[in-house]
Symmetry: C2
Subunit: 332 residues, 2 copies
């Protein structure tokens, strides 16, 4: 026992090295160029003596969330949260029975509700997300994510995260990387569960946000959530969000759609070794198929267009086929 503790201690400090080959850091990945590209990059920027060695402080990796770390079909998870929240709030808002877009939404006619365009969308989003303190919103999300279930699989949404991507997150962190989420989704919608599910703490989550205001409420200082957009963290907004929150150009970026294009471009344009990866959803049997190589019409959400596919190939970005490259899709 003591010998094993000593060995562990010395291994941990890098004072001795194990004779046995290291365990596979990505067991849910099939062998192939996608898996190999991740491992080659990590070895290149971390191996002592490598000409492309990157100091640990600069090992920043950014991950889109919807469609990259968890399932975004048939619609992004946050939309189910919004619908459930409007239903839960309806009894306090009798006027919604006759007022659009809420009347249609409560009747379950989402298409009619969103027919009002951007104004209707904003009204719904603000009703669902504003009007409470940040602490209260954290609790609302925590309660919801702990019980809401995917309409097709009946699983918790947090069970529909991609096991192969969890392995990439852990592998990068084991190699001194700091991992961030950079998502178009709400920053305060992800933070309550991102640490438990992805091992990513709140301060490493970047997302879209509404404004907040410091207030004394019943003598206690709180941040109140206001019905006003603060920042949209999508497309060209992703590099802006990275600049605001991280202040350093990432060396690795992972996405799955045109919303991630600028983030990958921005990452690649830095000096030294860089890595970019897109997840292609081409597995109708185990998840959903909505990528360009399936010959499908461009999807309304999570658009991995033919143009993006062509850009990826031309730019040397890794494209992961969920069908071919992943042994397992979801966490157990």
């Amino acid at each position: 026992m003591m010998k094993s503790v000593l060995t562990t201690a010395l291994l941990g400090l890098g004072l001795i090295s194990s004779q046995a080959p290291a365990a596979d850091p990505m067991p849910s990945w099939n062998a192939g160029p996608a898996r190999q590209s991740v491992i080659s990059f990590v070895e290149k920027v971390t191996r002592a003596g490598s000409p492309a060695l990157v100091p640990p402080a600069e090992r920043i990796a950014v991950f889109d969330n919807d469609g990259t770390l968890w399932c975004e079909q048939p619609v992004p998870v946050q939309l189910y949260f919004v619908l459930d929240r409007i239903k839960a709030l309806a009894p306090q808002h009798p006027e919604w029975k006759t007022k659009e877009p809420f009347a249609s939404l409560i009747k379950g006619d989402v298409n009619a509700a969103f027919a009002g365009g951007e104004k209707a969308v904003m009204e719904i989003m603000m009703a669902a997300h504003a009007g409470m303190s940040t602490d209260e919103f954290d609790q609302i999300v925590t309660d919801w994510i702990g019980k809401a279930r995917h309409p097709k699989t009946g699983r918790l949404y947090t069970e529909m995260v991609y096991q192969p991507m969890l392995e990439v997150l852990a592998y990068l962190r084991a190699n001194g990387f700091k991992t961030f989420i950079v998502s178009g989704g709400g920053i305060e919608f992800m933070r309550p569960w991102a640490e438990r599910v992805y091992g990513i703490p709140p301060e490493q989550v970047v997302g879209s946000s509404i404004k907040t205001r410091f207030e004394m409420r019943n003598g206690k200082p709180v941040l109140m959530r206001l019905p006003e957009v603060n920042f949209v963290d999508d497309k060209g907004g992703k590099p802006v969000g990275i600049g605001q929150h991280i202040g350093r150009r990432p060396i690795a970026a992972f996405g799955n759609s045109t919303g991630d294009q600028q983030m990958l471009e921005y990452t690649q344009a830095g000096g030294g070794a860089r890595f970019e990866l897109l997840v292609l959803h081409d597995d109708a049997a185990r998840e959903y198929a909505y990528g360009p190589v399936m010959g499908m019409p461009e999807p309304k959400i999570g658009a991995f267009t033919q143009a993006l596919y062509d850009q990826a190939k031309k730019s040397g970005w890794t494209v992961v086929s969920m069908k071919t490259d992943w042994k397992t899709i979801f966490t157990k």
Copy 2:
């Protein structure tokens, strides 16, 4: 040698404990209630078995910068940067010779330049801070901070950081804390040197900011700095900035002025053990004296008012007397 390596390894892992008393983590502090309050708090939230134990992930400590980590007199350092930058840009702007507020500024009459009020201040700030990419601004700040010197001491500004506060930062980090700057100063003005000087990486710096935009410039993706305020990280803005960037209520907050009041209130209002500290500038001989207990008129900047002093005493916040509590003021 091998024995010493083993001992180090096991000590590092907490598998054995040293018999010798630990080295003083705060050697630049005189014994007294201020020093003791820091140590008591850290021990309370980190000692195994303590009823107030805080998990490492929640050990968030936030520090104001101007007047808390480095000298802010006779005016905040960033103002010297602005003045030098306007002078450097003047040859490219011949129209400034006759156009206020620049004409006065170039002549060295700062008071006349700022007589135009907020509009004049904004014009000057934007001319100094916007119009370049974030990478270019990083280089401009790096060049400036490497050579600009304090008007009274002739020392580099980065040599006028407070040694006792560096010790607090290191002591907290050695005890599993994540340390953040939360400053009214420009976020991109601090990031280029905060890691080298304070050990605080860019992603743990929160500050005021201007907007940026993702752009392709000569085929290369950059973030361009726009002449438009994005966020003011002062007073009630500090808790808002903490919410945006950290997403978690700190358990310890350090400041020196009314600009930090709300940050300390917000920190204190969380559950469990909390710690708040204000630095009182009462040492005219070794730094500057501009605190309320000196019976001086309230200063225009870095206002540690009598009301704040009274609030600190009533709320149980630690007030550090630089004169009495600190053996050394500046780093060597």
